[in-house]
């Protein structure tokens, strides 16, 4: 058989090696007491129901830049932006003299089942923007939206442009019907009303399964077979466990907000049509005149570049720039390349617009 040269002795050795590594992995795991995340110190400066606004002070020895407010997605926890000391977008930004504010949406429970996009954008996000301006003693802020948080940031800026000086988007879906947007393609035939009627709040676990189903073998068999390697030392194991902790820590989604997001954005693709309805307002992207930096993951399998790039020309901004990083959806923040390129890119872009 051409191309296949298996030998029983070598397979036995491979098996023995695999199981020896398994044993070592067990030792490594046994020695780890806890998996710590979010190491950068912060103060919670504002609360609104379960939503918290956390403040990360800039390094004192660098010239100060205008404050950034990070609006993360509802579907995962925001500490991915501060996963560990050497993989922290937030720490890198503060090191460059930028005061950072981060919205933590919290974990919705059954009392939040009826929160909708109006609550999230016109109440929570708006009040966080106001609180940031008050705390930073600044008239305006730079809004940095990540993934679904980027879509929220666009909606917010279109509806309340006064407080937003610059808009930065990372791995943000814009065109939900671009050809290679598989997640959106699969969501088309899922009955969102039935989902909310059945589950109330949509379990985070269910969404996580959906993301994993986009690459079942790579995120299943291959990842599992590589586990003994990932767990070969305590440092490697902690890196792996932190990421796993984050992956499996997806909050449940408030039912009404989920229903509206799936229908208006995923199924009807209303954002680009200028027809998204948030509360009593309609989102018109042409109301956005702020400078925009659009950061895209070239290998993003969740939000493909084609979807994010659809923003070019969709707003009234005369200052639009793209930064494409050779990384996947999460790699944009946590990969060594992402950490090397993205904070510097943001700081340089901001500095030239001070």
């Amino acid at each position: 058989m051409k191309g296949l040269k298996l030998d029983p002795g070598r397979i036995r050795e491979e098996l023995a090696r695999f199981n020896q590594q398994l044993q070592d992995s067990y030792h490594t795991l046994k020695a780890i007491d806890s998996v710590d995340v979010a190491p950068t110190p912060f103060d919670t400066v504002y609360r609104n129901d379960k939503v918290c606004l956390n403040y990360y002070a800039p390094a004192s020895d660098t010239p100060r830049l205008a404050p950034i407010l990070i609006c993360y997605a509802l579907v995962n926890r925001p500490y991915i932006a501060d996963l560990q000391a050497d993989r922290s977008l937030i720490a890198e930004l503060t090191r460059r003299g930028i005061p950072v504010y981060l919205i933590d949406w919290g974990y919705p429970d059954e009392t939040d089942r009826f929160l909708d996009l109006d609550d999230y954008i016109n109440d929570y996000l708006h009040s966080c923007v106001e609180a940031t301006c008050r705390h930073a003693d600044s008239e305006q802020i730079t809004l940095l939206g990540i993934c679904q948080g980027g879509t929220f940031s666009l909606c917010y800026t279109a509806l309340h442009p006064a407080r937003v000086r610059n808009l930065i988007l990372m791995v943000t879906p814009i065109d939900f019907h671009s050809d290679d947007f598989i997640l959106s393609h699969l969501a088309l035939k899922v009955d969102a009303d039935l989902a909310v009627e059945t589950y109330g709040n949509i379990p985070g676990e269910l969404l996580n399964d959906t993301y994993n189903s986009l690459m079942p073998m790579r995120l299943g068999i291959q990842k599992n077979l590589g586990l003994p390697n990932q767990l070969s030392s305590q440092e490697k194991a902690l890196n792996f466990l932190r990421m796993e902790r984050w992956i499996n820590d997806g909050p449940d989604q408030a039912g009404e907000a989920f229903r509206s997001f799936i229908k208006q954005f995923f199924q009807q693709n209303l954002l680009l049509k200028g027809e998204v309805q948030i509360g009593s307002g309609t989102v018109d992207l042409m109301q956005i005149r702020q400078p925009i930096l659009n950061i895209i993951g070239r290998h993003d399998h969740l939000v493909p570049p084609s979807s994010s790039k659809a923003l070019r020309g969709a707003t009234a901004s005369a200052d639009y720039q793209e930064l494409e990083v050779r990384a996947g959806h999460i790699g944009v923040f946590v990969s060594s390349r992402g950490i090397r390129e993205v904070p510097t890119g943001i700081a340089d872009w901001l500095r030239s617009r001070q």
Binding site: N19, Y26, I32, E110, R113, L227
Partner: protein, 319 residues
């Protein structure tokens, strides 16, 4: 328990070493037995996240070892002239088990029904072709005067219809996976043929399979047929779950216990009140600001009045 686990592992490693030295009894059987025994062990001494990983590693190792054993046995019996088809059948079987486990886990029936069909494998025969369903169907076909109350009969009939829809949706959905497997196998074979240098380890074989599978999978899920099948199975599982919830809510209501639907209505009312309260707070805040502004204006007015009076007096004094 953790130490038991470790000593079991060490015992097996020792056995493996001896076996390699003497080429005697194959220790893989012992490994399987040990691995099966490991699953419930040691977990309570680790934090949940680590325990979950140990469990996953163990399950993975069982599959990996089982497959390795089959390959070794095949190679030892046929020497270097091992039949490609036999090897591939084994590999295909190994991966089919993994895929099947994944599909069933992902689209499992709601808990109560899952327990009912616990032992069933949907690939073997029709999920609903069993004595329980036959009995239920014939009961439902009996005229209501002779059998169940009409409302109960209707409700059960709805449940059966939903189960049948689930079964058909699952079959339709799993047919896509069969096609993906077949297509991936074809790609896998081609990749083996073209491998240079030749594949020498099971790890490489797995990597090759993952590549072939992901390619075939990516092509399939982008199709409209797959999208429809995915939507159908998603909606079928949710409909069944909702049906059981309605059933449970009705029963709770009969016992006078508040149902999930009633709690939901309370949450909705609370949410509306929370919004109203926030709106009122905003209005109060706006009124406060207004009040402060009025006070400030009044003070300014008083100040300018006072200074006006003073300057008038000064003018009068001078004149």
């Amino acid at each position: 328990m953790a130490d038991d686990l470790l000593s079991l592992m060490q015992q097996w490693m020792k056995q493996l070493e001896q076996q390699r030295a003497t080429a005697g009894e194959d220790p893989l059987d012992a490994w399987f037995q040990m691995q099966q025994a490991l699953q419930p062990l040691g977990v309570d001494q680790l934090p949940p996240q680590q325990a979950e990983l140990v469990s996953l590693l163990t399950r993975q190792s069982i599959e990996f070892s089982r497959f390795a054993e089959q390959i070794i046995s095949q190679l030892e019996h046929s020497g270097s002239e091992t039949e490609l088809s036999a090897l591939l059948n084994q590999f295909h079987g190994h991966l089919r088990r993994l895929t099947q486990e994944w599909i069933l886990k992902r689209w499992q029936l709601p808990e109560q029904l899952g327990a009912l069909f616990h032992t069933h494998s949907f690939q073997d025969d029709l999920l609903l072709d069993n004595p329980f369903i036959h009995g239920l169907k014939s009961l439902l076909n009996t005229p209501s005067q002779l059998g169940l109350q009409h409302s109960l009969q209707t409700r059960l009939q709805t449940g059966i219809d939903l189960l049948i829809e689930y079964e058909q949706a699952l079959r339709d959905y799993s047919a896509h996976y069969s096609a993906i497997n077949t297509d991936a196998t074809r790609g896998f074979l081609t990749a083996i043929e073209q491998a240079d240098p030749p594949i020498q380890s099971i790890g490489e074989l797995h990597d090759l399979w993952v590549e072939a599978y992901e390619q075939s999978y990516a092509d399939t899920i982008a199709s409209d047929d797959y999208r429809d099948a995915h939507g159908r199975i998603s909606n079928a599982v949710m409909s069944l779950r909702r049906y059981l919830q309605h059933w449970r809510n009705n029963q709770l209501q009969q016992f006078g216990i508040p149902s999930a639907e009633q709690l939901e209505r309370i949450h909705q009312r609370l949410h509306e009140q929370r919004r109203q309260l926030k709106a009122l707070n905003r209005e109060v805040q706006a009124l406060r600001t207004l009040r402060d502004e009025v006070t400030e204006l009044k003070q300014q007015l008083n100040r300018s009045r006072r200074s006006g009076t003073r300057s008038r007096k000064q003018t009068d004094t001078r004149s």
